[in-house]
Every structure is written in C-alpha cells, then in structure tokens.
C-alpha cells in the first residue's frame, strides 16, 4: 500500500578513537514509507541522531559508516542519476559524501532540521539569504526569483510579515520563529523526506504544539514522508504513523504507533512506556522503573544490549546471542512489525504477542 521510500538495513556507524571503537549505530534496520511519519525514539546515547546523520552521510570524522545499506527511492524517473541505479533506488551509503550525487539528494530529496535553530543556522547571513541559497543550489532560478520564493516559504510556515523578516538574522528571531524559518528552509525544494532531529526539544510546550501542528499541515500539503527523532513518547503518540524504538545503536522494535502504545513486544518498549508519568488520571503511585542507566558506549554489553537492565532476560542466552530481527508480514505492509528479542522465536510469536516463556504480553 505505502511503499518504502527509505529502507535502512544493517547500518553501522562507528567512531574510532585511540581509546577504542564506539559503535554508535550498530546494525540499524528501519523503513520509512512514502507520505508517512516514522518516529525514532530512544534515550540519549542510543544512536538515533547518528542514524539520521548517517542517512545523509553527515557524520563527522572520526565517525564512519562501516557497513549497511541505505536504500532511497528517487523521485521522477527522468532523474538522470536514477538511471544508474536499479529501479530508481540508490544506496546512499555507497555514494561519495562529498560527491555531486549525494549533494543532489541533500536538501532536494531529503531535507533535515535540527534541535537548536540558533546554532544550526548561519549567524552571519539573513534567513532569506539562506533559503534563497538553498533554492538556487538545486534549481536554476534568478536571485530575485529565489528571494520571492523565500518570502513565500516564510509565509507558508506562518511567519508574520515575511517580506520584512526575510532580511532578519537568526539572533533577531524568537525560538519558535527560528524553528519555523529552519523548516521553511528545509522544505523550500519540496523534499520527499524530511528528517527532523529533535526539532521541538528546546521549545516550550505551547511552541512545540505550534511546530508539530505546522509540520503535520505541511506534510499533508506537500505529501512528504517525515522521519522524526525524539525522546518524548508524548510527541510520538501525537504525530507518528510508525515508530522505531532504539537502544544502544540498535532498533529493537518497529511497528505502528497504536501497536506500540497498546500492544508492545520488546521488554524495553514495555518498560519505557510504564516509566512515563502520564498526565492522565492521577494517583500518587510509584512509577515502574528500569533499573540502572544506559551503559556507556565504551562498555557495550555482549549479546542483547538491553539484557543488563531487562526484567525478562534469560541468563546464558541474552548475554551471549545478539537477537535477530523477527518480522511479521513483509516490511512494505502496514501492520507489519519487527522485533529484536530472544523471547520470541518465530515471527508467529511476534504476531501473537506470545513470548517463549508462555506469557501473553499485556
């Protein structure tokens, strides 16, 4: 139904340092479907930002993509580069990070927005200049035209008096307006995929609501897919179609948003959901916690990375074997889900929600 726009398989991004190798991303599999929103959720240090950056080959040295494929389906068949790739699909991991092919995808096919617009935008250029530059990088238009387009884009993201604000510098705007400007910039070339790296984390709740609303509106208008990175399960519940849960460089579960909140499979997902205080009916009751904290990347546990904190860990199994991905249905099918956990032995277990201990989850 909704075919995959981006499919990441076995992605590994490692950082080599004199102290050893940090495996920031270590075998990530995920799928973003056309026109849909995939939320990537996880705690700090789980590699979600690095996964996002790896997709656009924006990892700074000493970081390096060491393995895996990032398959992206290119837009119009007329695209000259697409001819080279089979069925219009390119493996972004194999492109030269500085090459022309990669640059044509950045900003045009896949755009990215970041957490802190103040530092993510140039301090010495006006926002109009930066938007116009983006347009002119990918399209052959005059300066005047690019500027008019920039004003249009600013209006679209709800910045008041855009013909005036187009000449503003980032430090002259409020946090919410900056984030809007960054969105305008990212969407100026109508990308098919927007990667949003914690775009609302630094904002107040009311501003966050405005930005989320805006993103959803624009997504509907422009028909793009969104990969939204966040640590806030509330935000996930608001906007996601599908969710990928990450832990220590691995996607441990990917499924539809409703299944995630109401029928989770992975013990980490379950524990995460239980540990969130809800604004719902209140009782001064203890929260369920996950013991310990996320291990330091230098001390990555063997086997399933979560086994050290997992209530259902099987001694002798989980601390040895890295669980394989068990997927139900085909990855292109909505309603399909994928889990990495030894409690499930077959895809059928995953579908049924029965783990090998015979316990029916929730």
């Amino acid at each position: 139904m909704d075919p995959a726009l981006l499919r990441v398989r076995g992605l590994r991004t490692h950082f080599a340092s004199p102290e050893g190798v940090v495996r920031a991303v270590d075998g990530v599999d995920l799928v973003v479907r056309e026109g849909q929103t995939l939320c990537v959720v996880g705690e700090s240090g789980c590699g979600k930002s690095m996964t996002a950056r790896s997709i656009l080959q924006l990892v700074d040295p000493p970081g390096r993509i060491v393995d895996g494929e990032i398959l992206f389906r290119l837009g119009a068949p007329a695209e000259p580069r697409a001819a080279a790739a089979e069925h219009g699909v390119v493996d972004l991991a194999r492109l030269d990070p500085r090459g022309r092919a990669m640059r044509r995808i950045r900003g045009k096919e896949i755009a990215m927005i970041f957490q802190e617009p103040m530092v993510s935008l140039s301090p010495v250029h006006t926002i109009g200049h930066q938007i116009a530059e983006n347009i002119r990088t990918h399209q052959d238009v005059s300066k005047k035209e690019a500027r008019d387009r920039a004003i249009e884009e600013l209006r679209r993201v709800g910045i008041p008096r855009p013909e005036h604000r187009v000449d503003a510098y980032t430090f002259q705007l409020s946090g919410g307006m900056r984030q809007r400007a960054m969105i305008a910039m990212a969407l100026a070339c109508r990308p098919k995929l927007l990667i949003a790296d914690e775009p609302t984390t630094a904002l107040d709740v009311t501003t966050q609501a405005q930005i989320l609303e805006l993103l959803q509106e624009l997504q509907e208008q422009l028909g793009m897919a969104v990969m939204f990175i966040t640590h806030d399960l509330g935000v996930v519940a608001e906007i996601a179609d599908e969710v990928a849960v990450m832990y220590l460089g691995l996607v441990v579960e990917q499924c539809g948003v409703d299944e995630l909140f109401h029928d989770p499979r992975h013990p980490y997902t379950k524990a995460l959901l239980e540990s969130v205080p809800t604004a719902g009916p209140r009782a001064k009751q203890r929260l369920t916690t996950i013991t310990g904290s996320v291990p330091h990347p230098y001390h990555r546990p063997k086997g399933c990375p979560f086994h050290t904190r997992c209530r259902q860990a099987i001694p002798g199994e989980c601390d040895h074997k890295l669980p394989p991905v068990l997927a139900t249905g085909t990855a292109d099918h909505p309603g399909s889900r994928a889990v990495r956990c030894l409690l499930y032995q077959t895809p059928a277990d995953v579908a049924a929600g029965v783990d090998t201990l015979g316990e029916v989850s929730r």
């Binding site: 102290e19 940090v22 920031a24 700090s44 990347p297």
Partner: protein, 378 residues
C-alpha cells in the same frame, strides 16, 4: 544531539581495570594524563627541564667561567669532540694552529691534528661559588689541564668560550621570563580579579584601561623606558628594571584571561550551590573558583614567557637592555650585530639558536597545557 557518542575522545576510559583509578583521580592527574598524550608538549617539557637545570647550575655545567678569556684565541672556531679507545675511553679535541692574517690582522685558525687536548668529566678548573653557598673548582666537563683551549662553540673577540657563556646566559634569559611573568601575574590577577569580581563601572574602567595599554606599540615603549634606565645602575637593579618594564606590557593579556575565566566560573551552578550551602565568600573563591582557573592561568603564563624572553633578547641586542659584563643571550647576540663580524665568526649566532629552542619549547608546553587545562569539558 547530546549524544555522548558524538565525542568519543572526551572519555579517557579504556580498560575497566583502570576505571577506579580514573574515578578517584584529582584534577592535576587528569590534566597530566591529557598533557602526556601530546608528544610535542612532552618533548617541550623535557627540553625546558634541561634548560632550567642548565640555568640553575650553570657554573657547574660550564667548563669555564663567563669572563675567562685568552686573547690569543680571539674568534677561534668551534672544535669537534673526538673519542679514542686506546686503553679505555678518552675524549679529546684537537688544538689550534693560528697565524695572523696580514691584511685584516685577524688570526686565522686551523685544526692542529698533532696536539690533542684531553678532556674528562669532573675536571678541576676555575673556582666558583655555587649559589653563594659553597665554593668548588669541579666542573661537569672540561679539559684535563685547566689552561688548555676548549672552544666547543667557538670563541668571541676576546677569546672567551661561547659555550660557557651560553650556559651562563641561560640563567638570565630563562629567568627574565619567569620573574617577569610572575610580576605580570600579580598585576593581572589583581586587576583582572577586581574587574571580574566587582563588575559594573569598575570593570568597565579597568577594561578601557587595558585596551589602552594594549593599543600601545610594545617595543617602542620598552625602548623608551629602557633608555631611561640610568646607566649607573648596577647589574641586579637594571635586571629588575628591565623585568618590570617587560612585565608592564605583558599583564594586560593575563588580566583579560583572569577576568573572563572569573566571569565564567562565577556563573557556574556549582558556585551558586556552594553559596546556598552557606559557604563563606573567601572559601568559595579558594575552594571552588581558584582551582577551576589555576590550570588555565598556568597555561597562559607559560605562553607569555616566550614574549618576555624575546623582549629581553631584543632590548639587549639593541644595547638598551642588559649591559656587559652581565651575560644573557641577548647580550651575546649584541656582539653579532655586524655582518662583517658574523662572516668571520658565524658561530656567534648560536645564542640566537638557544633563544629559538627555548621559545619553541615553551610554546609547545604552553599549547599542551592549554589543551589539557580543562579535563572536564568535552
């Protein structure tokens, strides 16, 4: 975005056995561990240690005293040390044959392979008072017979041994930087601290004053002040006068460093936390603020020593700084002002090489310290 993963170098953890050692390591250890990883800085530190050791015991290291001269060896060229192995290990240099040039009246020297000047460790030579405490005539290295010519770096016009004079010169040249830097530090910490602590209009005034100082060309002013030093002053007085002049110009940078660090640390949460603990002001400064900027200040100090050394060298080279009979590298270079003299005795430039080595070593160490100064920031 706050992935600790993004900067793996920030964490020195390697093998778990060392973890506990790192966990309980105080700041100076962490700084040292970080410093140690910078090879250039470590090399600089070794050279620096060597130079200061040389300066501290120069009478012992130098084969001759600084004023020991023999006019017959005027502009005698450097000798090479040879080793012979007949009946044990012996070091020696060849003697000179010389004859006056009829045109220039300067002596020209050739190596005389027939005479050997035997050398040894710990020979007896001229007596000296080490640090004014005790007298001895033992030197580290020198000719077996005190009167024999040994000019490893050549001789100057009066036949004085440049090698010995360089070693003696290191005492003044290397200490000018240290003393000057401490004077600068006193001024800088005082004014920078006042500026940072009081803030407001006081801060503003001190800042304008510092800007004014920084906008004055240093060397002309040094020259002006140095020229005003009465020539009748003794060597020690003029040494301190020169040092004060040098430090007058160097304190502004330090004051700025101190002030900005002060502001930065004062706004740290842990300082507020200490205030809310009921810690008294003096204790906050002593226990919480000073330790946080000592390492930075030491790094800045190290980096400002070279400026002082170069300043002294420049002044003395021009004849406005220290005057003979005081020996410093600058004073020695003063002999090398004339290109014609240089073409006769190019080895006179060796004192310049000493300056370069010292300055580079200090820069390496300072850079290394600066990079290692804050082991907690990633």
């Amino acid at each position: 975005m706050n992935d600790p993963v993004s900067d793996p170098a920030s964490d020195p953890v390697r093998d778990p056995d060392r973890d506990e050692e790192i966990y309980v390591a105080p700041q100076y250890k962490l700084v040292w561990w970080r410093f140690r990883r910078n090879r250039l800085a470590v090399a600089g530190l070794v050279v620096l240690g060597f130079l200061y050791l040389l300066a501290a015991f120069c009478e012992f290291w130098a084969p001759h005293t600084q004023d020991h001269y023999r006019a017959v060896y005027s502009y005698a060229p450097p000798q090479r040390i040879h080793v012979s192995f007949d009946g044990g290990v012996h070091f020696f240099v060849y003697g000179y044959k010389s004859r006056p040039d009829p045109e220039t009246l300067l002596r020209t020297f050739t190596v005389d392979r027939s005479t050997r000047v035997p050398l040894r460790f710990f020979p007896r030579g001229e007596t000296y008072q080490l640090w004014g405490l005790f007298g001895t005539d033992r030197h580290f290295f020198g000719p077996v017979k005190p009167g024999d010519p040994m000019y490893l770096f050549g001789a100057d016009e009066q036949g004085r041994d440049l090698f010995s004079r360089l070693i003696y010169g290191s005492r003044i040249s290397m200490s000018v930087g240290l003393v000057g830097v401490f004077l600068s530090l006193a001024l800088g910490v005082l004014l920078g601290g006042i500026s940072g602590y009081l803030g407001g209009i006081t801060d503003n005034l001190i800042q304008r004053f510092i800007e004014f100082f920084m906008s004055i060309p240093t060397l002309p002013l040094w020259l002006g002040l140095a020229a005003a030093i009465p020539s009748g002053w003794g060597p020690i007085t003029s040494y301190f006068a020169i040092t004060i002049i040098l430090s007058l110009m160097g304190w502004t940078g330090l004051a700025r460093v101190v002030r900005s660090r002060f502001f930065q640390i004062r706004s740290e949460d842990y300082v507020l936390a200490a205030e809310l603990d009921g810690v008294r002001r003096m204790r906050i400064i002593r226990r919480h603020m000073l330790p946080a900027f000592t390492s930075h200040v030491i790094a800045s100090l190290t980096l400002s020593i070279p400026g002082m050394i170069l300043g002294e060298t420049a002044l003395s080279f021009l004849g406005l700084g220290l005057q003979p009979p005081v020996v410093s590298w600058g004073v020695l270079l003063n002999d090398a002002q004339n290109v014609r003299v240089l073409s006769t005795a190019p080895w006179l430039l060796l004192s310049g090489a000493a300056v370069v080595v010292a300055v580079m070593a200090l820069n390496f160490v300072g850079d290394g310290l600066r990079d290692a100064a804050d082991p907690y920031e990633s």
